[in-house]
Structure formats: C-alpha cells, structure tokens
Symmetry: C2
Subunit: 244 residues, 2 copies
DNA sequence: TATTCGTCGCGAACAGTGTTCGTCAAGCAA
DNA sequence: TTGCTTGACGAACACTGTTCGCGACGAATA
C-alpha cells in the first residue's frame, strides 16, 4: 500500500511492460530519510532478520511482530517494504534457496540426487522453512534456477520436455513434503509418539496387514526413505511413455 | 486438562494397558448433567460442527471460537471434550476419511486408482481439510482402514511388505500434497496468477529450459496431473528391486 | 533564509486466534 | 435439607496480521 504510492514513478514505467509488480525485482525500496542511529530498515534487512529468526528459534512460526521488535520498530513499519506476510514468506523462501547448489559432478543421476539433497538440506534447516516451502509455491529467481537445473538434468537423462516439466513438480514435492512431514512442529513420528502408539494398538484381526507391517512402516531413517523415494520417482519417470 | 481430571477413573484402568490415551476410542465423554434446553455438547457434536464449518465456509481455517459460537457456548467449554486444536484436527480429519471408499472392483490397478481418487475427492471437499491432512499425520481408525486397503492392493500387485509399507506413505503423500497445493488459500496457480506471470517473465537467455517449457509446466488439469503422478509412482514402485 | 508542503515512519488500535484460570451452579449423596 | 463433588464457561491472557492516521522531517518554494 505504502510502497505502491512511494514508488509510483518507478512502477508506472514498469507497468507498461508487466501488468503486476514482481516482488523479486527492486529488492530495496530505499527510504530517502537517512535516519542517524539505526540502520535504515530496508527490505533486505527485514528478510535477513526473518531468515535469521526461523534459523535460530526452532519451529517458531515467523511473526511480523517479532521481526519488527528485533529491528527496533513497530509492525506497521514493515509494510512499507513488504506487502504482507505472504510476500515476506516468498522472499524469505527464495533467499533461503540461494544456498541450494545446482552445480555438481558425476552422472546425471548423481547430480540429480545431489541437487535434491542440497534442496532438502536447506529446507531442513528450519521446520518453519519447510512448512513455508510447502505452502508457498516458489517462483523467485532461485526457484527458477533450481527448476532450470532440474530440467537440464532430466533432459540429459533422456526425459522429454513435457514429462520433465511435470516431473520437476513431483520431485520437488517429494522433497518438500518429506522434509515438512519429518520436521513437523509436533514430533509425532518420534519413538513413543502418537503414531507409533497407534500402530502398536492395531489388532491383528482388524488390520492384519498394517499390524504385520507396523515395524516396516516406521523403519528407516529420514535419509534412507528420502533416497528410496527419489529412486522410485526416477524409475517411474524413466519408465513412463515418452513422446520424444 | 479438564478431560484428564474428568475421566480419571476410566483412564486409570486404561493406563494399565496403554501408556497414553487414544483419542479415537470412547468417542463421547458424556456429560452426566443433562441440561434441559441445549443438546448436551458432546465430542461428536463438536467434531460434526467443525466438519460442517470447513465444508461450508470455504477455506475458513477452522477456529475453536467459531465452533463454540455455533454451539452456543464459549471456547473454554470445548476443552472439556477435546484436548485442544491439534486433537480436534485429527478427529475431524478421521471423521472426514470415513467417506473414503476402500472397496472396489476390477484389477488391483483400477482399485488402487479408485481408492486414491476417492481419497483425493474427500480431501478436495475443503481446502482446510486438505491442509489438515497434510500437516496432521492421520492415525485414526479410518486412516488405518485406508492403509490396510493400500497394503492389500500392493500385495496383490506383487510388492513385498517392506516396499509396500514405505509406498503407502509415498502414495498418500502424493494425493495429499496434490490436493493441498491445488486447493491453496491463494489461487496462485490460476491463469493470470503470480506463478504464470513469473514464468512469462523468464527470459530465454537466463532460464532457457524453463522458458521453453513454460507452457508444459502449466499444462494439464489437476486430474490429469494426478493420474500422471500415480502412474509414475506405480511404475517406480514396481520397478524397484524387491526382496520377496 | 524562512515557510510551506508533501511524504513517509510508526504508535495505537482492530479483529482475530488458541488456551487457561477460577468462579459459580447444578446434581447426587448423606 | 445440607454438603460437596463435578462440570460449564465468562473473562482474561498472550499472541497473531493488518490498517488508520497523526506527527515530524526533508525538500521544494517564496
């Protein structure tokens, strides 16, 4: 709201080319007033602080007020640099995705697994981040960079463009969902947690197969299951009929 | 808190067999006091009202206060029957999963697709429900019923127990994530939405593959992509090395 | 240089949320 | 009839994201 009036000159030119503003360009709106003591409170500093908070206090759900307090101001001030909570989430997510390494060595398969693992590692840095990745469809420059790398790897694997385009969704979804589920706020999957108990309670007569497989259902580390999932997906993608 | 003191007699016996209480048994705690005018406010009535609300008001995020208001009481009263928000979510989710049809006809493949589609349809009834399904690991009786059916179908398909146990996670995750992503609060994937714009902005020089594939990335209805995903998964699962 | 003026910064308030505390009354037992 | 256990719930607490509008400052004008 504020930003819209504030940068109205810039945005009018911009609007001639693109109907709506791209929150990833023009990263700092720059306050003309150079306040003496405190740093001038830019968009970057807000995103940095947000990322710092979710990386530090575990599973704290990223609040505007806490960011404002840390930056020694009121919550209203943030709205001059960020359009609201959801835009901030998108910005934070993309900033975090900067750390994902798209380059790598070895076969396409090794590089693909490496890329996805790097992606997972970054998301696993904070439960909040993982949740954000799931509910915010990432469209920032870093998300594009990752998509570009994935498409290239899949092309190298011999997957045609149409299938590859859908496959990147599936692959990232696997990573995101796995991490988000694993790093849930409630440690429900932990030993002794509710899900283990629920499985232990299953009677062999009512749910015979679940009962029989209850150890298998819980078995494996997160990483093992992660690699297993990737293997399933890759095998499936390669096995799918292609047009090319 | 209240419940714990309230049903202490019952729970002490219970505790001898099972360390923690199972929120899915003893579905109504039953207030001994039969109030004259209003219905006695049971756990079932709370879950029913919650399910009614998220099925009616679209994408309203299920608030305890709204449920209390609809039941003509204060929010505190609900805590006598439900342990808190997360338990309520689990109960609501499982109640909703009652509608998932596990029986079916045809080949295992047809029945598997039918089951997953039924699951997806139920979740798609409300965006809130879809989100809940993702963040709440379902361990109620209906979730177990679905798992049981999935395990049986996979066994019929020739998948060994260890792989099947992990596969049901993958399959349900695909459904959940697809529906939750599709029925997101912000209709971001809609034509003209932020993601289409972001893709349209991609330059052919910076992100050549994304740029080239931008139509493919957006193509397909939800259902088409859903079936495509299932096909990938099934192919992958069958292609994975097995011990049996 | 003095004065006006438009432009931001941000304190305070709004409308929500989940959860807890402690009062009060109703029902059963004595 | 009295006493007491037991369950309902109003009010308050500590939060959340978001908006409104006052006030003070920097820059342009007189």
């Amino acid at each position: 709201m504020f930003v819209k009036q504030l940068t109205v000159g810039v945005r009018d030119e911009y609007r001639l080319r693109v109907p709506e503003r791209d929150p990833f360009r023009e990263s700092h709106v720059e306050s003309r007033r150079n306040r003496p003591a405190k740093p001038p409170l830019s968009r970057d500093s807000i995103v940095d602080e947000a990322l710092r908070q979710i990386s530090t206090e575990d599973s704290a759900p990223l609040s505007l007020r806490k960011i404002a307090k840390a930056l020694d101001t009121g919550p209203a001030s943030l709205y001059a640099y960020v359009d609201g909570m959801s835009e901030l989430q998108a910005l934070v997510l993309d900033r975090a995705l900067q750390a994902v390494e798209t380059g790598g060595k070895g076969s396409w398969r090794d590089r693909l697994e490496g890329l996805l693992l790097s992606y997972a590692t970054v998301l696993a840095r904070s439960p909040t981040l993982a949740r954000m990745a799931f509910q915010t469809t990432a469209v920032g420059p870093n998300a594009l960079r990752i998509s570009e790398a994935l498409l290239e790897l899949l092309a190298e694997a011999g997957v045609d463009q149409a299938n590859a385009a859908w496959a990147i969704d599936l692959l990232t979804m696997l990573v995101t969902a796995t991490v988000a589920e694993h790093a849930q706020d409630t440690g429900a999957a932990k030993p002794g947690g509710p899900i283990e108990q629920a499985l232990a309670r299953t009677s062999a007569s009512q749910y015979p197969r679940v009962h029989a497989a209850r150890d298998d259902i819980l078995s494996g580390t997160g990483e093992e299951r992660f690699h297993w999932g990737i293997d399933i997906l890759i095998r499936g993608i390669l096995a799918h009929p292609q047009s090319q």
